[in-house]
Amino acid sequence: MLAIHNLEVVYNQVVRVLGGVSLRVDAGETVALLGPNGAGKTTLLRALTGLLPIHNGVITKGRLLLEETELARKAPERIVRAGLVQVMEGRRIFTDLSVEDNLRAGAHTRRDGEVRRDLDNYFTLFPRLAERRRQQAGFLSGGEQQMLAIARALMAKPRMLLLDEPSLGLSPLLVAEVGKLIRVIQQQGIAILLVEQNAALALSLAARGYVLEGGKVVIDGPAQTLREDPDVQEFYLGGAGQRRDFRQAKHYRRKRRWLS
């Protein structure tokens, strides 16, 4: 479905954030993308959805293929039309628009006359949003805003969804709620690239995963393997187990591997 070959991204003509990242998501598959702050996860998503130019970033190398369509350096609306939609980090709903208008804005690229019906579908799926459909979206709770942000992206009828930190700033109860929603999306056959700090959640939802560090993929494999990987356990699943001697930590070297 989605194939990234050797992607390199440079900001402000000097800062290289991604240095040769390759990644693949099959049709209908969910893939987790893990990594610490500043690893380049959001940059990868921006490169995919054409949002780099407004951040003064440029794709200097590599290919981005959504099936047969080359996505690199395309305008965002063409990428959305091709079937790839991003839910940005921090929800970024239109706070002063009504809940319903938020959803209708998500359907902007569609030309078919079924927007009305889809709107009703989502309101059945999210009764909390239906209750507030005429209210200003800024008054929704954090969890409801996240649901709205995801539903808004789904209104574009994507074949593939990019989720950037959907659990950010939510209580454990709401995180589980988001997890449930992601499973519903999976059942619709929509492929998902899930960027998460919450590695436990991401690896429980995804079939495969990649770990991005310093702009490179350092580990990748099936979710099961990643869950059992001692490095992933220590750094992403909080499972260091016993206290570590600092002298030991100094000599500790992480396994690094090149994909391409």
Partner: protein
């Protein structure tokens, strides 16, 4: 009573023009947080375009349409060529640049049409009146009111119900988020300027109809609509319209009833009056009549 009707009619006509101007400001401000200081010059350009269009023999409604379109396209061009490359820079830079753009337009007007005042063509006698409640009301006043009302209703319908209006509202709420959903933010910004330019031309046409003549300094009248923008709330289209009507009315009433009370000091006091209202608002209700305190969740 007759006096009051007479004053109210001309006050509302002036207010309707203020509302059109204020709405142009607000449309652009909402879309890009830019306060467009070139708006007055667009208005003057629209008025001259109207004179020119009927000068070549176009019937009045067609000439008005042509003038609106020409001004709208000029505004769209300004946005595309001068302002678009600055997207992402501090808004302050763009705002200062609009002052410069205003001077460019003013110079262009002087180059094309010269500095002589012209008369604004009207399809009726310029002094034709209608009797309402015993008062003689200028036909031009009624036309201004009706024209402004039509334009304002069209604008609100577009923003509320059309797909384009929704895209404009979304883009003004969060540009990057709108881009991510496939809304072509640049194009909606251009169309916002087109609409603002058309509103400016309409306002310029009606403004030129009253004894005031069409000349470059028509641009300064846009500044008189400035209090309406602030009193209404910079972000509120409805506020701009209500405040525009209100201030037009207040200004005319102040001219008739307050100026004489102030003796020599009262000469032209009505011109200052809207600003006094504005200052009172800035002190007690700085976000305006309908301006909303921002919704924020942390």
């Amino acid at each position: 009573m007759t006096d009051l009707v007479q004053l109210a009619s001309s006050g509302l006509a002036l207010g309707a023009i203020y509302a059109l101007i204020a709405l142009g400001f607000v449309a652009i401000y909402r879309a890009s947080k830019v306060f467009n200081f070139a708006h007055g010059d667009l208005l003057a350009f629209g008025a001259f375009a109207m004179v020119a269009a009927s000068g070549i023999g176009l019937p009045w409604p067609l000439a008005l349409l042509a003038a609106m379109l020409a001004t709208g396209l000029l505004a769209m061009g300004v946005e595309r060529v001068i302002l678009r490359p600055l997207v992402g820079r501090p808004v302050f830079v763009t705002v200062i640049l609009t002052i410069f753009v205003g001077y460019l337009i003013r110079t262009a007007i002087l180059l094309i049409w010269g500095s002589n005042p012209r008369g604004m063509p009207t399809p009726w006698e310029p002094t034709a009146t209608v009797e309402i409640l015993g008062a003689k009301v200028l036909l031009g006043s009624l036309a201004a009111l009706a024209g402004a009302a039509l334009a304002l209703i069209a604008y609100f319908l577009l923003m509320r119900f059309a797909k384009l209006g929704l895209a404009m509202r979304a883009a003004s709420a969060d540009q990057e988020s709108a881009l991510a959903l496939g809304i072509p933010v640049g194009r909606t910004l251009g169309l916002t300027w087109l609409i603002a330019g058309m509103l400016a031309a309409l306002a310029g046409t009606f403004l030129g109809m009253f004894p005031r003549q069409v000349e470059v300094n028509l641009a300064f009248v846009a500044l008189a609509a400035f209090p309406a923008v602030l009193v209404g709330g910079l972000e509120s289209a409805l506020g701009a319209v209500v405040a525009g009507l209100l201030l037009g009315l207040l200004q005319v009433l102040a001219q008739a009833y307050v100026n004489p009370l102030l003796g020599h000091f009262g000469h032209n006091f009505h011109m200052v009056f809207p600003y006094i209202v504005m200052i009172i608002f800035l002190i007690f209700r700085p976000y305006g009549l309908f301006g909303e305190a921002e919704v924020k969740r942390v």
